[in-house]
């Protein structure tokens, strides 16, 4: 803005004097010159005039003149409104010859107008291009040299007059100029970007090509121990320091080593991991964790995970409660994946709710980790985050941890109803018959969803008391869907009670449900 302002002022300085000078030089400002100018123009659109005579009596010849048509007023005579200024000169000669007192009065669109207003009106017409000025064909009557001497000399004045005074033309020219300037700028910008992109792509190809030989040689010609014992000079023999100092080369190296690590197995994986550290690319990955951009941090976490950088785990742990979904998901996955002794407290302390996608991802890793490591799942039950607690109950179910049923039993009474539903499903899946009292308690709850979950669990784990409660629920229930669920559970739990519930009740709805349950063709519908 500060840069534009001076240019704007310069623009005004050019523009304003040009307009004023143009007017003053085309139309004379004095009344006689102005009148003479109008006489040359003969007619100007919207402009007319009349003569006012301050005499009580004029000659009969003048009074009866059919051209000027004078009429008598209280103060003298006035002519008709005349638009042809050529007539003014002739009349004025007669008035001067008769020594009459007269005054020339202008009208703009039949409205009385002063000399200044008339001048401004005419100047506007000319400026806007609505009127084409006529010039005296006979040329100036004065000596041309003496006329020229009146005009002050200034270089390029004509250019200034014609170009800068026409502000519309000047504006359009300016817009077109800026348009071309911006277009040119954009073209140059695109060319520069394209050249940069091409250069980068060529460099990438070149780097990809030149890392093949050293990588291949190292992987096939060196043993793992030899790679681990390589010193800096040996490393530089394969990967020159001049190239290693370039970030693009390092990026290519990281990408290719990680890519190979994914596609290869056995000793080659170990060699690649060792090489990754020898080239100090692990520091590169660690540095990414300090980046402000979340995608770079995630990239660093992925690299740590892929290359098993166990020493980075304390740093990774800091990201388990990150506000960014991708960062914390990746950080948790790494801790589950790489920790020797998985302490799930970092998961317990997560404050953000975990999505189903995250649960699926963690479950995959935990299922794998649980085969090799002792996982203290019960710490998840102590979480302040209900989604973590629910995930803990699911893990008990998914991993078949019967040993944790007792822990669940001790907390089940005091948890939220949503969690009770998850615990009931876990009991049901694991066949926890000893928890039937809790199931019956949930059957009495006011929450229909909890009732339904308890009914489902009761169908597998229930006792006679459960059957009685279900019997009562069927009688009092009004929803068709809920009745269907209760009756199905009762059918699975106690056939006699089911028959009793369907016989005692003559409701058409109940009979339809009964037919549906008993029809083997509809068992899975």
């Amino acid at each position: 803005m500060k840069k534009i302002l001076p240019w704007f002022i310069v623009f005004l300085l050019f523009f304003l004097p040009g307009v004023i000078q143009a007017q003053s030089q085309i139309i004379p400002e004095d009344s006689i010159g102005f009148r003479d100018f109008l006489i040359v123009q003969k007619e100007v659109p919207g402009l007319s005039y009349r003569y006012v005579l301050g005499e009580k009596s004029i000659s009969d010849e003048l009074a009866s003149d059919s051209i000027y048509q004078f009429s008598k007023t209280d103060t003298g005579y006035v002519s008709r409104l005349i638009s042809d200024f050529d007539l003014a000169e002739r009349l004025e000669n007669r008035l001067v010859a008769d020594s009459l007192d007269y005054q020339l009065v202008y009208f703009v669109f039949s409205n009385l107008s002063s000399h200044e207003s008339t001048y401004e009106y005419l100047a506007n017409l000319i400026r806007n291009g609505d009127y084409q000025v006529k010039f005296d064909e006979d040329g100036p009557k004065e000596d041309l040299v003496s006329l020229a001497s009146k005009a002050p000399y200034s270089p390029l004045q004509k250019f200034k007059l014609r170009f800068f005074s026409d502000y519309q033309l000047f504006g359009v020219t300016l817009v077109i100029f800026f348009f071309f300037l911006v277009a040119l700028g954009m073209i140059v910008f695109m060319l520069v970007m394209k050249a940069r992109k091409n250069k980068r792509e060529n460099l990438l190809k070149e780097y990809e090509r030149i890392i093949i030989d050293p990588l291949t040689s190292l992987l096939f010609e060196k043993e793992l121990k030899e790679i681990q014992e390589m010193d800096q000079n040996e490393i530089e023999f394969y990967f020159p320091q001049t190239l290693l100092s370039k970030s693009l080369y390092k990026d290519v190296l990281v990408e290719r080593i990680i890519g190979l690590n994914k596609r290869m197995k056995g000793e080659f994986k170990d060699k690649l991991k060792s090489l990754y550290k020898k080239l100090e690319l692990d520091k590169n990955s660690m540095d990414l964790l300090r980046n402000k951009k979340w995608d770079r941090v995630t990239m660093g976490l992925v690299q740590i995970n892929e290359m098993d950088l166990v020493e980075a785990l304390p740093e990774v742990k800091k990201f388990t409660n990150s506000s960014n979904f991708h960062i914390r998901s990746q950080a948790v996955a790494i801790l589950l994946n790489l920790s020797d002794q998985v302490d799930l407290t970092f998961l317990r302390d997560q404050t953000f709710p975990i999505s189903l996608w995250q649960q699926m991802n963690y479950l995959r890793i935990i299922r794998f980790a649980s085969l090799q490591k002792d996982l203290k799942l019960e710490v998840l039950f102590d979480s302040q985050n209900s989604s973590i607690r629910i995930f803990g109950y699911k893990l008990v179910r998914m991993l078949g941890r019967m040993d944790l049923i007792g822990v669940l039993s001790s907390i089940a009474g005091g948890v939220a109803e949503e969690e009770k539903i998850e615990i009931l499903e876990t009991y049901s899946t694991l066949g926890a018959h000893m928890e039937v009292d809790f199931i019956n308690e949930c059957l009495h709850a006011q929450n229909p969803n909890l009732n339904l979950a308890a009914a489902k669990a009761a169908s597998v784990l229930g006792n006679s008391e459960s059957a009685e409660i279900l019997f009562g629920l069927i009688k009092s229930e009004t929803s068709f869907g809920n009745k269907l669920h209760y009756l199905k559970s009762l059918y699975e739990l106690d056939r006699e009670k089911f028959d009793q519930a369907t016989l005692d009740n003559s409701s058409n709805e109940i009979l339809k449900i009964k037919d549906h349950i008993l029809d083997p063709m509809l068992q899975n519908v």
Partner: protein
């Protein structure tokens, strides 16, 4: 000297395989896409083809189809990261490939399989 054609779009992987097989004394040829692979099969008539499945222009399955029609006796080893996709593995074996090696793989193991097939 036995001639082996390697059709693989990942230059680093193909170079590693080439390096390992050269160590065993094979003559190797690299191509990086399906179209080039088909041309190379007809032009070189190799003793063995090692091909990836997912490649530009033509897939590995199309290459196997072509090889079975034009050079039915050439053994083919499929080297692919689609090893867990049963459909791809079954299709490859139905077309008569000699072996299917899923990625991640061990180049030494590949070399042993190549040696067994070309024996």
């Amino acid at each position: 000297m036995k001639r082996i054609l390697i059709i693989e779009d990942d230059l680093l992987i193909s170079s590693l395989v080439q390096f390992r097989l050269k160590k065993d004394g094979y003559e190797t040829f690299l191509v990086s896409d399906g179209n080039e692979g088909i041309k190379a099969i007809d032009a070189l008539v190799p003793d063995l083809i090692i091909t990836d499945v997912m490649m530009p222009f033509r897939s590995g399955i199309e290459i196997i189809h072509h090889a079975r029609q034009s050079q039915p006796d050439i053994p083919i080893i499929v080297l692919s990261s689609l090893g867990e996709e049963e459909q791809v593995v079954l299709e490859a074996f139905n077309l008569g490939v000699a072996d299917f090696i899923p990625k991640p793989f061990n180049p030494n193991e590949l070399a042993i399989r190549v040696k067994r097939i070309l024996k």
